[in-house]
């Protein structure tokens, strides 16, 4: 389950029309959500609140051996109106699962953002500030996010911790998203790492599409899927080492009539790593994902399988009545996932390491129950068990 603050940041992206998925870094977002999810450790409590549309606070308390915690504040210049109360929060937003990509949105024109008042331009760039301090460790995380233009965003994240080299590290990320393609440039103070990422979407360019006269054929056959290719390149100036990878992805779009699926292939030519991911949303409640890694230098391979299952309550006594409702009748305006009793995420790899996550809502509390197991180690099957509770108002 997403942290409250991550959820708020996502809503900021939403509100400022920034497409998080249109980035090379998000090429394997589905696989990360279904295969690389973190299982909680120990007990963790989080109390958060979006006190005002622009301001959020969150406190966490954890106990993994010792009691630790964190305090975080967030300010957004853009009022956020998504529901964050844990009682009526949309679980789809709080839980990362299969990423069903949408049609690319045409980026805003620059002048759309201009606001003039009595001959002066008074519009402001949307900004998000976020800080979090972890208490016993005295570790500080800070984030500065700014929409420079409709197609550009600056993201500066910093960590200050006495345990790190030079007392901390700062990462500057400049992101450009033109819809058809996106580029990212980054610089990290740690070993002066420079990075470039790029993603190119094949197919129609969302910026020019509406102006052209469309033929009947095109209207009848909207694109069912999107093919994207990207690459990333890193180079550390100080340690004179780098990294490179390229990736391809094909994913179905909502127009696709069958079940949605995503295929991703990433390759690291330097290290000889090849990774293929196939993810399927087999139904409204089920997503499956598999990943096969192969290294053609060391011939090492790895297979991971994962699934996400939404379990809904079946209230049989009213079902017949619901069926009789006419489609145009207005459904009772309760949360769409009100009948969700829980979401099960599970993954397993070829070494029989298993991760299980059970997430859901009880009354006004969001809970995450997780465990990671290692069946190969008979004497200690449970590697970690944990529970997270979130309450937000």
């Amino acid at each position: 389950m997403l942290d409250f603050m991550e959820n708020v940041q996502n809503s900021f992206y939403d509100a400022s029309h920034w497409n998080v998925d249109n980035s090379y870094g998000a090429l394997n977002a589905t696989a990360r959500a279904l295969l690389d999810f973190q299982t909680p450790k120990g007990l963790r409590l989080q109390i958060s609140s979006l006190a005002a549309p622009n301001f959020a606070t969150s406190y966490t308390l954890g106990s993994v051996g010792v009691v630790d915690g964190s305090v975080s504040y967030l300010y957004s210049s853009l009022p956020l109106h998504r529901k964050f109360k844990s009682s009526d929060l949309d679980l789809q937003h709080a839980i990362r699962g299969y990423r069903h990509l949408q049609e690319l949105r045409r980026p805003d024109e620059d002048w759309w953002w201009e606001v003039w008042h009595s001959g002066k331009r008074i519009d402001r760039r949307d900004t998000l500030l976020y800080g979090r301090i972890f208490l016993p460790q005295s570790r500080l995380e800070a984030l500065y996010l700014r929409r420079l233009t409709p197609t550009r965003q600056l993201r500066i994240s910093a960590v200050s911790d006495s345990n790190l080299n030079n007392g901390g590290t700062i990462l500057t990320l400049l992101q450009n998203d033109a819809g058809k393609y996106s580029t990212e440039y980054m610089y990290s103070t740690d070993s002066a790492l420079l990075g470039v990422r790029g993603l190119y979407n094949f197919g129609a360019d969302p910026r020019v599409a509406p102006t052209e006269p469309v033929s009947a054929q095109q209207v009848a056959d909207p694109p069912h899927g999107r093919f994207s290719a990207g690459a990333e390149l890193y180079y550390g100036l100080l340690n004179k080492s780098g990294g490179i990878s390229t990736g391809l992805r094909f994913t179905t779009l909502p127009n696709h009539t069958g079940f949605p699926y995503t295929m991703t292939l990433t390759m690291n030519p330097l290290m000889g790593n090849l990774s293929s991911i196939y993810a399927v949303k087999a139904g409204p409640n089920l997503a499956l994902c598999s990943r096969f890694d192969f290294n053609f230098y060391s011939y090492e391979s790895e297979l991971q399988l994962g699934c996400e299952l939404w379990r809904r309550r079946s209230n049989a006594d009213v079902e017949w009545a619901v069926k009789k409702l006419r489609p145009d009748w207005k459904q009772p305006a309760i949360a769409p996932d009100d009948d969700v009793t829980g979401i099960l995420k599970a993954r397993v790899d070829q070494n029989w390491r298993i991760g299980v996550l059970w997430e859901g809502r009880i009354k006004e509390l969001l809970f995450t129950l997780g465990a990671s197991l290692d069946l190969k180690k008979r004497e200690q099957v449970f590697r970690a068990v944990g529970i997270e509770l979130q309450y937000s108002s």
Binding site: A158, V159, S188, N239, S245, N273
Partner: protein, 610 residues
């Protein structure tokens, strides 16, 4: 005396050492680049043994040994390790960074683990080694400083400079830890297995436990039985009696050596020095610095009849040395030459030891003082003779051993020596000394401690050099000596030369200086106890002896321990950058008159030039 250092059997079977190394290497947290266990696949100690130079022997008996060596190794040993490393630098780099500010690359950080074979060869070691051996407790070997000078790391990645440099750096770091922390434990366990059969049975289980609990390198409760290799914060050996004070269940003999009352008094005394309190508790048999400042005082002072010149001078020397704390390491280097004469002290000690049965309280006291003294064995000849002269000394070997312990301590602070010279009686002619020597023994036989004053001590120290005497022990000594050299010191001709030819005059003069050299004594504190133990094994020494011995140690010893740590550390430092001063032998040759030590202060003695 000689050490037979048998290297070849060590080479034969290294499988056990391999296993232990494997455990040791996997003990400490590994750097992120190493993603698998480190397995030692091959271990060859090579055909060239390390060069060991005895700096000091603190305790020597048939079943025990304690000494400080200077070790240098340039042999052909090699070690092959097998592990798996992460070849992607981005992966290792990111694994240590917080997620929040991480670039979070998509696949650029994907790992590539590569089996890696590392061969460590051309290992160059040089350092001071404290070696303690006891038949019951095995061998303990502690490095006084970081011994690793250089080594060559050759691996699968030699063609990639970045990885190669990284590996070299990481491995050197790990090896330093290994030498300083793990190797002593490994050697200890190996030796226990060899010598103590009962431990062999325990060992299998112990080893498993050791893997879990790392602190217990010695599988003996440190409080239940005193550690045989106790080392204080500065790496100096701690007197066993001191340890026994710490231990909850001291052995019977040591138990007697510390009385609660004495402890309290000593504590009060040391406390009084730390504060401005004017109150100084009266302690019997204690010597105060103020008294020592006047050399005549003890002789005349009826109140302290037990004070001997030796004890006085010792105190004085402590005093002096403390003042001359800043004295450079160079001064320490003077040791080598001066050591030659030191053996004379042995006679001093060995004679009473031989006569030991008649030891009364006073004698015991004297002996205790004496014991603090250390005598050089390096120039074993003199020592041998002295022991021979005092024919009653149980066996020439042990006594010489005692003297041998002197060694390092020879790094004397010159100021002190001069100071002590003032205190000591002027040097006398060798012939006379010989006469005195005889006379002294007679006196000793009678057991007149009060008479045993400055003069006798001085004459003692003025023992004539080897050529004057032709006792059988000497012969054996001289026989042993070449052996010793061939084993341990062969590669250093200068030293040999110095030791083999004892010029009379120089020797004699030195001896006077040396006799009182304080560092010697200070260093030998630890030896005293062991020595006494050794002596007691042969002679029925009264417990009071041990008691007095222990009680006298306290404060001064502590101060000296500190001092010594200081000195040794300095010396090590000096030696490290003193390699350029290699020219000393030539310079010394012409001016080796009375004060050879003078120029030695400037030049490192050959013994310390690696």
């Amino acid at each position: 005396m000689a050490f037979n250092f048998n290297w070849s059997p060590l080479i034969a079977d290294t499988s056990r050492a391999r296993d232990m190394l494997t455990t040791a290497l996997n003990k400490s947290p590994k750097p992120p680049i190493i993603v698998d266990d480190i397995i030692v696949t091959e271990l060859n100690l090579g055909t060239t043994p390390p060069e060991l130079e005895i700096l000091e022997v603190g305790d020597l008996a048939e079943d025990r040994f304690r000494g400080i060596f200077k070790m240098s190794y340039t042999g052909d040993a090699f070690l092959t390790l097998k592990t798996k490393v992460q070849a992607n630098p981005l992966n290792t780099y990111l694994s240590t960074k917080p997620d929040f500010a991480s670039p979070q690359p998509l696949a650029a950080a994907s790992g590539l683990t590569i089996p890696l074979q590392i061969t460590l060869s051309d290992i160059r070691l040089s350092g001071f080694v404290i070696l303690v051996f006891s038949k019951q407790k095995g061998v303990t070997l502690v490095f006084r400083n970081d011994p690793l000078e250089s080594l060559k790391v050759s691996s699968t990645f030699d063609s990639i400079p970045f990885v190669r440099d990284y590996l070299q750096k990481e491995i050197e770091g790990q090896l330093r830890v290994l030498f300083m922390e793990d190797l002593p434990a490994i050697i200890h366990r190996l030796s226990l297995r060899l010598w103590s059969p009962e431990f062999q049975e325990l060992e299998s289980e112990t080893e498993e436990r050791l893997d879990v609990s790392k602190e217990t390198t010695v599988p003996i409760d440190p409080l239940a039985t005193p550690p045989h290799d106790a080392v204080d914060a500065f790496g100096n050996l701690i007197d066993e009696s001191t340890i026994s004070a710490l231990s909850l269940d001291p052995s019977s003999e040591l138990h007697a050596s510390f009385s609660q009352k004495n402890m309290i008094r000593l504590a009060a005394l040391s406390e009084s020095q730390r504060t401005l309190s004017l109150f100084t508790p009266g302690i019997r048999d204690a010597v105060f610095r103020a008294w020592a400042s006047n050399p005549d005082r003890p002789e005349s002072g009826a109140a302290t009849p037990l004070l001997t010149q030796s004890s006085l001078s010792r105190i004085q020397s402590t005093f002096g040395s403390v003042r001359s704390q800043a004295s450079s390491v160079a001064s320490g280097s003077s040791g080598q030459d001066t050591q030659s004469s030191r053996p004379t002290l042995v006679s001093n000690y060995s004679a009473p030891a031989g006569l030991g049965l008649g030891a009364n309280r006073a004698r015991g006291h004297q002996m205790r003082k004496r014991k603090k003294r250390v005598v050089d064995l390096r120039k074993g000849r003199d020592g041998a003779e002295s022991s021979g002269i005092s024919s009653e000394a149980n066996s020439p070997l042990p006594s010489t051993n005692v003297s041998e312990s002197a060694s390092v301590s020879a790094e004397v602070i010159p100021e002190e020596r001069e100071k002590e010279e003032e205190l000591a009686t002027p040097p006398k002619s060798p012939v006379k000394a010989g006469v005195h020597f005889e006379g002294k023994h007679g006196g000793l036989d009678v057991g007149e401690p009060s008479r045993f004053s400055e003069k006798t001590v001085a004459t003692d120290t003025l023992l004539p050099p080897a050529p004057l005497l032709s006792d059988p022990p000497k012969l054996s000594k001289s026989k042993q000596k070449p052996q010793f050299h061939s084993h341990l010191e062969a590669p250093e001709p200068e030293k040999k030369r110095a030791s083999s030819r004892p010029p009379l005059s120089r020797n004699r003069l030195r001896s006077t200086q040396q006799a009182t050299s304080p560092l010697l004594r200070s260093l030998s504190f630890d030896k005293v106890s062991s020595l006494s133990a050794a002596a007691s094994s042969k002679l029925p020494l009264s417990p009071s002896y041990a008691e007095s011995n222990a009680s006298s140690g306290g404060i001064l010893e502590q101060a000296w321990m500190l001092k010594m740590a200081h000195e040794i550390a300095k010396k090590v430092q000096e030696e490290k950058d003193g390699a350029s001063r290699d020219t000393s032998p030539q310079v010394q040759a012409p001016s080796k008159g009375l004060w050879a030590g003078g120029e030695e202060e400037i030049d490192a003695p050959p013994a310390y030039v690696a």
